[in-house]
């Protein structure tokens, strides 16, 4: 029932993007978030779109799958678009019907901002789809390493993140199971009036909470039993290795920013 969700899921494949160092992927995403804001006209956005789709192609994750998985996000994107359409009151009027007036600037900004939003989500999806949670955490922990000097709990943060990411699929599997069990007991999750549907959530949420708490407790016990005491003195099993492709990818992004700055108005 929740089979199309793609958040927090890893699609194993052999691709350049998969093989990249998680550190370079994280840096890339971080920089991309900044670079996106350079774009301000049709050409720059076109360049961004081309770049993003090139990344998707390189990752070898089926486009159809990403699009299907992002359906819930489309709603949000469309909502952003509509908000801008109606709330911006600048530029020439291009459409007028009763109380509804749409301004040129509203249309422009609406499209650009929702596009920006959409591209950011696409890029982060590529990150999570091609990088295992463990890799993301390792990368993040190393990148944030210097912050340990100022007593920032880098290791704890990384651990929390990896645990959450790790348990998203488990939680979804559990949700699916409990939904099926309650459906068999006569709950209708898919249809009916809103009131009924809200009521249907209770038999789903309570078992989920109960099992999540139980799981958290078991996990804590298991970690303690295996001698976990935080990051202090802990050695690393997986070594990260920065390759030539990683540098190339960052250079590619640099090239993109140069192009954007040149095309920008």
């Amino acid at each position: 029932m929740m089979e199309k969700m793609i958040f927090g899921r890893y699609v194993p494949a052999q691709s350049i993007i998969h093989r990249m160092d998680p550190r370079s992927k994280l840096i890339l995403i971080f920089l991309f978030v900044c670079v996106v804001f350079i774009a301000n006209n049709v050409y720059t956005y076109a360049a961004l779109i081309i770049y993003t789709f090139a990344m998707i192609l390189l990752s070898k994750v089926p486009v159809r799958f990403i699009i299907a998985g992002l359906k819930p996000v489309f709603l949000l994107v469309i909502f952003t678009l509509i908000l801008h359409l109606f709330l911006t009151r600048e530029g020439a009027i291009i459409f007028e019907l009763g109380p509804i007036t749409i301004y040129e600037e509203g249309l422009r900004q609406g499209i650009f901002i929702s596009l920006r939003f959409f591209l950011l989500i696409l890029m982060t999806s590529i990150l999570t789809l091609t990088t295992t949670p463990i890799e993301i955490t390792d990368g993040l922990e190393t990148l944030l390493g210097p912050l340990k000097k100022v007593k920032f709990p880098v290791h704890e943060l990384a651990l929390m993140m990896s645990i959450s990411l790790r348990f998203i699929p488990t939680l979804m599997g559990e949700t699916d199971k409990i939904m099926k069990a309650q459906t068999a007991r006569g709950v209708d999750f898919s249809g009916g009036p809103i009131k009924e549907r809200v009521k249907a959530v209770i038999p789903l949420l309570i078992p989920l909470f109960v099992s999540s708490f139980k799981r958290a407790e078991e996990l804590a016990t298991a970690m303690e039993a295996r001698g976990y005491r935080g990051g202090e003195g802990r050695t690393k099993y997986r070594q990260l290795s920065w390759r030539i492709t990683d540098t190339m990818m960052l250079l590619l992004l640099a090239a993109l920013s140069v192009i954007l700055i040149l095309l920008r108005t």
Binding site: R64, F65, A181, A184, P203, I206, P207
Partner: protein, 289 residues
């Protein structure tokens, strides 16, 4: 109520990179009153087959007929409640589905979803809790303060209270103590006879399969490898052993006796009493051993 699966195939997460063929070409007949045992290794597709029995999932190929309702891959089914009411599923580890404040409320949840009045539901809860071997006092407790075994029984009572015509059990005794296993299996067996139910049981216990079932289907890699009566299935255990499955102790013993005596018994015995009798016959018969 009759249930038929015809050449059913099911793929999890069809059309995604995670697509996974779980079962294919599965045909199973379940006329009213049958006791069918499904046997097979973990991952052989047993639970997937079960979910078709009350239309929790739609086959990706083939046809499922549940009473008068036909389910095919492309047909949209609106209201399946009447199907779900008549086919009760006890999932693996059903205690995970408990959520109400009291055991009574939780048992009444199913029946009331199907439009049974509160009064009637409470009466059913009382009957069901006794059927699963618990006392009525438990009805007022919170399900979360019970022991694992009690929770299991409460969850089973919740399905029994729906009073289904077909009861589907996915490893209902997994993780229980031997005594609890026997109690629960005996309860299902007597329920099957008294109410003239159809029962489908997924189990890893060959003993249970041979004792209670009148049909056995063996699943292997998503396909039905063999189907037949317990006597038919266990009469040539070589295939089972090849698949890495066990045979009941009695059958094992019979085979040992047969090779010790150097001759075949007249039939495959499924209980110790039977086997003793056959062995006696053979010995008394005085045919030179």
């Amino acid at each position: 109520m009759d249930i038929t699966l015809q050449n059913v195939e099911y793929r999890y997460q069809a059309n995604t990179p995670f697509e996974r063929l779980a079962i294919e070409d599965v045909s199973i007949d379940l006329p009213a009153g049958t006791f069918l045992a499904l046997i097979g290794h973990t991952g052989s597709g047993k639970s997937t087959v079960l979910q078709h029995l009350n239309a929790l999932i739609k086959p990706t190929k083939g046809t499922v007929k549940i009473g008068d309702t036909t389910i095919t891959p492309n047909k949209k089914q609106k209201n399946l409640k009447h199907v779900r009411q008549r086919v009760g599923i006890v999932f693996q580890f059903p205690e995970h589905q408990l959520f109400e404040e009291t055991v009574e409320k939780d048992i009444c949840f199913g029946p009331m979803n199907f439009g049974v009045s509160e009064q009637e539901a409470k009466a059913r809860a009382r009957r069901a809790i006794q059927q699963v071997g618990l006392s009525e006092e438990i009805l007022l407790k919170s399900p979360f303060e019970l022991s694992g075994g009690q929770m299991r029984r409460v969850a089973i009572a919740g399905v029994l209270a729906m009073e289904p015509d077909v009861i589907v059990l996915d490893e209902p005794t997994a993780g229980l103590d031997p005594r609890g296993r026997q109690d629960i299996m005996n309860m299902f067996a007597s329920l099957h006879q008294e109410r003239n139910l159809s029962t489908v049981l997924v189990t890893h216990s060959m003993e249970d399969a041979s004792r209670y079932a009148d049909q056995i289907a063996i699943m292997h890699n998503g396909k039905v490898e063999r189907k037949g009566t317990p006597a038919e299935i266990f009469s040539n255990p070589e295939r089972l052993l090849e698949l890495g499955l066990d045979v009941p102790e009695v059958v094992n013993l019979q085979h040992k006796l047969e090779s010790a005596f150097g001759r075949k018994f007249a039939k495959t015995c499924l209980s110790m009493e039977d086997l003793a009798e056959e062995a006696m016959k053979l010995l008394k018969g005085g045919d030179s051993l």
